[in-house]
Assembly symmetry: C2
Homo-oligomer: 182 residues x 2
DNA sequence: TGCTAAACGGAGACAGTCTCCGTATTGTTC
DNA sequence: GAACAATACGGAGACTGTCTCCGTTTAGCA
C-alpha cells in the first residue's frame, strides 16, 4: 500500500469512529469523507461497502471483547450470576454505537459479511462462557452459542431501537437466562 | 372528506399494501404514489409520515390478530404449548412484511407513534394469553406483557433481518417460554 | 351556473450513495 | 535527479429517495 493511501485510510477510519459514535452506523459516508479531507471516491475505493468501513472501525473493539469475557469468567458466583453478567456485558459491547446490535447480530449468521470475523470473536467469547456453564452442567445443552447470541442480540436490538436503558433490559435478560439454565 | 380525496386515499393504501408486501416497509413512497396514479404531494398530504401509511395498511391486519389470539386460546394443551403456540403466531403476525418486527416492536413502547393503536391490539391479545396462564399460576408474575412482546419481538426482528425460517426461530422461542414459565 | 374551499400533482430543492475519469502523487529505475 | 509507470486521488455528476411549494383543477353547495 502506498504511503499516501495508508495515510488516507487511517484518517478515514479515525473520523468514521468519531462520527459513528456520535451519529450511529447510518451516518452519511460522504460526510465522513469530507471530514477526513478526501473525496468520496477515495473512501469508496478503500471501503466499497459500509460494512467494510464498520469492520475497520471495530478493529480495536475486538480487544475489549476478549478482555471483558476474561473479566466476567474470573468473577465468582452462581451460574445464573455468571450468565447474567455476561449478557449485560454483551449488550453493552454491541450497543456502543447506535444501530450496532442489529448490525452485529445480523452479521453473525451471514457468511459473506465483512464484519463476520469480528462477530466470530464475540461468539467465541460467548462460547467460552457457555462452555464453563456446560462443564458445571448448569445450562441446557441443546442450544448453540449462535442461538444465545441471537436471543441476547434481539433484546439488545429492541433496546437500541426503543432507546431503553439497562434497567429495562435486565428483566428481559433474566428471562432468557432462566430459560437457558437447567 | 371529499369524494376524490377518499378515492385517492383508498387507492394509495391498496397499492401500499401490495408494495409493502413485495418490497418491505422501506419501499419508496414516491413509487407507491406513482403506482397509485397520484402525485407525491397527494400521498404526503394524506400520510405525512411513513408510519401513517403503514398504520392505514395495517387496519385490516388488526382483525387477524384478534382472530389468531382466539384460536390459540381455544386450543387445549399444557401452559408451555399454549405459550409457544402464541409466540409462533405472534412472530408470524408481525413478520408479514419485511421490516415489520422491528417497526412494530419499536412502536409498541413509543407513545407518539401513529401505529401505536395497532400495537395496542397486539399487546392486548398477548395479555389475554398471559392472563390465562397467570390464572393457572403457570407463569412468573414479575414480567409485563410489554416485556414479553419485546422479547418475542426481538427474536422476530433478528429472524427477519437474518432471514431465518420458523424452524430456526422455534428453539429460541422455547428458551423464552421456559424462562417465563414457573 | 357560479363560487369557494378543498384537493391535486408535479417541478424541484435537498440529501445520500456510488462511479467515472482526468489529474496528481509515489516510488522505482537508470 | 529525471523520467516513467503504477497507483491513488477527488470531485463532478448520475441516480434514487424524501418531502414541499404553489399554480391549477375539481367537488359540492347555494
Amino acid at each position: 500500500m502506498r504511503a499516501d493511501a495508508k495515510r488516507n485510510y487511517d484518517r478515514i477510519v479515525e473520523v468514521a469512529r468519531t462520527v459513528f459514535r456520535e451519529q450511529g452506523y447510518d451516518a452519511s459516508l460522504d460526510l465522513i469523507a469530507k471530514q477526513a479531507g478526501v473525496g468520496p471516491g477515495t473512501l469508496y475505493r478503500h471501503f466499497p461497502k459500509r460494512d467494510d468501513l464498520i469492520d475497520a472501525v471495530m478493529q480495536s473493539w475486538v480487544d475489549g471483547v476478549n478482555e471483558t469475557a476474561e473479566k466476567v469468567l474470573a468473577h465468582q458466583g452462581s451460574p445464573r450470576d455468571l450468565l447474567l453478567a455476561w449478557f449485560e456485558e454483551y449488550v453493552r459491547l454491541i450497543s456502543v454505537h447506535k444501530g450496532g446490535p442489529a448490525k452485529i447480530t445480523c452479521a453473525m449468521g451471514d457468511d459473506g459479511s465483512p464484519i463476520r470475523t469480528k462477530c466470530e470473536v464475540l461468539r467465541a467469547a460467548g462460547d467460552r462462557v457457555l462452555d464453563r456453564l456446560r462443564a458445571e452442567d448448569a445450562v441446557r445443552d441443546d442450544v448453540t452459542a449462535l442461538q444465545v447470541a441471537r436471543l441476547v442480540g434481539g433484546v439488545a436490538t429492541v433496546a437500541d431501537q426503543s432507546e431503553l436503558d439497562l434497567a429495562a433490559v435486565r428483566p428481559m435478560l433474566e428471562v432468557v437466562a432462566d430459560g437457558l439454565l437447567k
